[in-house]
């Protein structure tokens, strides 16, 4: 059992170090790269590269400019329409999985444009398609307009039920054939409308139209008043997912067209970043030295735990992957401070017990026990803050995107990791290093 445990630990260590390796670092003939996976298991293709993803401010990305079509918009509503288009686009890009884009409105002469800066992502074309989608969803029913004609052809007319009435769209799967479909749930007004519409159309088709394109026209079997509907079409999972993103983020109030696309450099400048990294390393060394000088051998252990902490967090950043931007780095630095803090708390408690004349082994045990309450409470409050700022449930009234989220994510990862290294790893290290000396 013990050998198995040691083996597992070794395996995890190797994995973490492997993931953390620098990219394209050359030693003589060899170039070192972090772990990358590319294989197939049970028919599922696994492809993942563990690389650092840097945000716009640190690395740059793609710059897209969309021309808006303002002809149909009332001049007095123009400002509102533009800013709401901006917000919807920002939402879409974020739901697409791009973290911290910059979305701005541009005006030159009478041309209104929207510019979007995306940090280095691979699927730029897919992002463009999604951004440009107007996503006007509507439900249409058949009506016979001209009754004088001998065999009147039914025409599709709007029912008044649109994407505005949808609370949430999500992907689910048809239980009969396993095909992906889009499930809709309506808000109160939408549910009422949908109930009425289905009631008067029993036995007739009800058309679901997105951007003037008929997606499906199922025949109504019975009146549905619970406020749920599904769109079955010939979707792939990916298509269904993008449709839900487009519906969830709301319809664009004006149509847009891509007019410019180019790569841009980092807003913070390579030189600036280099300087800051250098300064960060110096700062870290100062922290380590301080710990070692003040706490002696325990400080050495804490420093070791801190390095392990850094390696694990960095590996997690690469696994998720987290797009690192300056606010994100700030969250990380703060969590380093808190990681050190856990150790200092424990050491002060151990010292306290030693002063009371306890034996070292017992002092360590008691010190950990006492410190754990404070560490737990302090870290849980910080996690609460991070949780609310991150807004995992996507509530409308909280920030749904952008740098606040980036900050919260790195802070949460940092604090969770520091709980682990500060408590579990430091304890193990103390046991290992002190047992030998009795």
């Amino acid at each position: 059992m013990k050998i198995f445990k040691v083996f597992l630990l070794l395996l995890i260590t190797v994995l973490i170090v492997w993931i953390d390796l620098p990219e394209n670092y050359k030693i003589g003939k060899f170039s070192i790269n972090p772990l990358s996976l590319d294989f197939t298991v049970f028919g599922i293709k696994v492809k993942k590269e563990f690389k650092t993803h840097l945000g716009l401010d640190l690395k740059g990305g793609s710059h897209l400019v969309f021309q808006t079509n303002t002809i149909k918009v009332n001049p007095t509503d123009l400002k509102d329409a533009l800013s709401s288009a901006r917000n919807i686009i920002e939402k879409r890009v974020n739901f697409f999985g791009v973290s911290e884009p910059t979305v701005q409105t541009l005006k030159s002469g009478n041309n209104y444009r929207i510019s979007i800066d995306l940090p280095g992502i691979e699927k730029v074309d897919e992002a463009i398609a999604l951004i440009g989608r107007t996503a006007q969803l509507s439900f249409q029913e058949e009506k016979i307009i001209d009754e004088k004609v001998a065999s009147p052809a039914p025409v599709l007319v709007e029912t008044g039920l649109t994407g505005k009435h949808i609370k949430k769209a999500s992907v689910d799967f048809n239980q009969q054939d396993g095909k992906p479909r889009v499930a809709l749930s309506f808000n109160n007004e939408g549910a009422r409308l949908f109930g009425d519409i289905t009631k008067r159309n029993i036995g007739k088709p009800l058309a679901i139209v997105v951007d003037n394109f008929l997606i499906s026209a199922p025949t109504v079997q019975q009146a549905i008043s619970e406020g749920n509907a599904v769109i079955t079409g010939n979707f792939t999972v990916d298509e269904a997912k993008k449709l839900t993103i487009a519906i969830n983020s709301g319809a664009l109030p004006l149509s847009i067209k891509l007019v410019e696309q180019k790569n841009i450099g980092p807003t913070l400048g390579a030189d600036e970043v280099k300087k800051s990294v250098y300064a960060g390393v110096i700062g870290l060394i100062a922290v380590l030295l301080f710990m070692i000088i003040y706490y002696g051998r325990l400080g050495m252990i804490a420093s070791l735990a801190l390095i392990i902490y850094g390696l694990i967090s960095f590996a997690i950043f690469r696994i998720i992957p987290v797009v690192l931007t300056l606010p994100g780095v700030a969250g990380f630095i703060l969590s380093i401070g808190m990681a050190v803090d856990s150790n200092i708390l424990i050491f002060e408690r151990i010292k306290e017990e030693l002063r009371k004349g306890k034996e070292f082994n017992i002092a360590v045990k008691l010190g950990f026990g006492r410190a754990i309450d404070a560490i737990k409470d302090a870290n849980i409050t910080t996690l609460t803050v991070a949780f609310i700022l991150f807004n995992p449930l996507n509530w409308e009234f909280l920030p749904q995107f952008g740098m606040v989220r980036g900050f919260a994510l790195t802070l949460a990862i940092g604090v969770a990791t520091s709980l682990f290294t500060g408590v579990v790893i430091t304890k193990r290290l103390i046991e290992i290093f002190y047992k030998k000396n009795g």
Binding site: E272, I282, M291, T384, F407
Partner: protein
């Protein structure tokens, strides 16, 4: 044991002075807002020969135009500035042409909207308030007392006021701008502040458990004496990190780091000197009511 609480009036006075100066500055001078909030202008010029970046910077300075982003590629200049009036833009173009003896073709001239809209800021504010409420609820449970939570939150408010006020001073005297990074720094301060307070409160809670009912003031002083070294050491490590970033790091993040530094210092200060006296006061008042 040191009787820290004896000097509580001095602590409050210091805080009052710092916050007062800050708030005075907020109301008198307000802030400079960055391009993130107010938008700006995008210019792209083509010169008929290659021009050095330095000479362009000098002309920008002479025209009192603040550039946020400047890039020269061959004969093309991309410039992003604070919002420019048509007149300012013409003046810039003329003085570039005159001083550098070049001809300029305007490739692009557009106005950029803000990236941080009102909506985002309001939502961030709502989230912060909710986060504070979250802390209030959790601490009320963990410490089995509303007073602990209340004291911790008053300390957070204190720290936020200090940071916001000091930034206005920095903004007035050193042209620090309110931007996305400032918002992050404020959020960081909020998280750090409560972390530090909890460590002290944990000690007080422990005394109540192990030594029975006794005077809260005595316990508070004892807890402060024992945690002071830890608090200082912990803040020291963060201060080392931030000082090194302030002195050696890049200029564009300097104000961000200084704000974090201010946040760390006030966060460390407020836990023993603001939160604890308030807790003692609240607990004593409760006791008096009972009696």
């Amino acid at each position: 044991m040191v009787n820290f609480l004896k000097y509580r009036l001095i602590y409050f006075l210091i805080s009052l002075l710092v916050i007062g100066a800050g708030l005075f500055s907020v109301f008198k001078w307000s802030y400079c807002y960055s391009i993130d909030f107010v938008g700006g202008s995008n210019l792209e010029y083509r010169f008929d020969k290659i021009v050095a970046e330095k000479s362009i910077n000098k002309i920008l300075q002479n025209n009192k135009i603040q550039s946020v982003y400047l890039e020269i590629k061959n004969q093309n200049l991309s410039l992003r500035t604070k919002p420019l009036e048509q007149v300012q833009e013409n003046n810039l173009k003329n003085s570039l042409e005159k001083n550098l003896k070049v001809k300029i073709t305007v490739l692009k001239s557009e106005t950029v909207g803000p990236t941080l809209g009102r909506e985002t800021m309001i939502k961030t504010g709502v989230a912060s308030i909710l986060a504070i409420l979250g802390i209030l609820i959790y601490m009320s449970f963990a410490f089995k007392g509303f007073n602990y939570a209340m004291a911790a939150i008053l300390a957070i408010v204190h720290d936020l006021l200090v940071v916001i006020g000091c930034y206005s001073l920095l903004s007035h005297f050193y042209q620090a701008e309110v931007d996305t990074m400032f918002v992050t720094a404020v959020l960081t301060t909020m998280s750090f502040s409560v972390h530090d307070t909890i460590v002290i409160f944990d000690k007080i809670r422990e005394y109540f458990q192990t030594e029975g009912k006794e005077d809260i003031e005595y316990f508070a002083n004892k807890a402060l004496t024992e945690t002071m070294v830890r608090s200082l050491n912990n803040s020291m490590t963060i201060v080392f990190m931030l000082l090194s970033l302030t002195l050696l790091g890049g200029t564009s993040i300097r104000f961000f780091i200084i704000t974090l530094l201010v946040g760390t210092i006030t966060g460390t200060y407020s836990s023993p000197f603001i939160a604890t006296p308030i807790l003692v006061w609240l607990e004593k008042r409760k006791k008096q009511k009972v009696n």
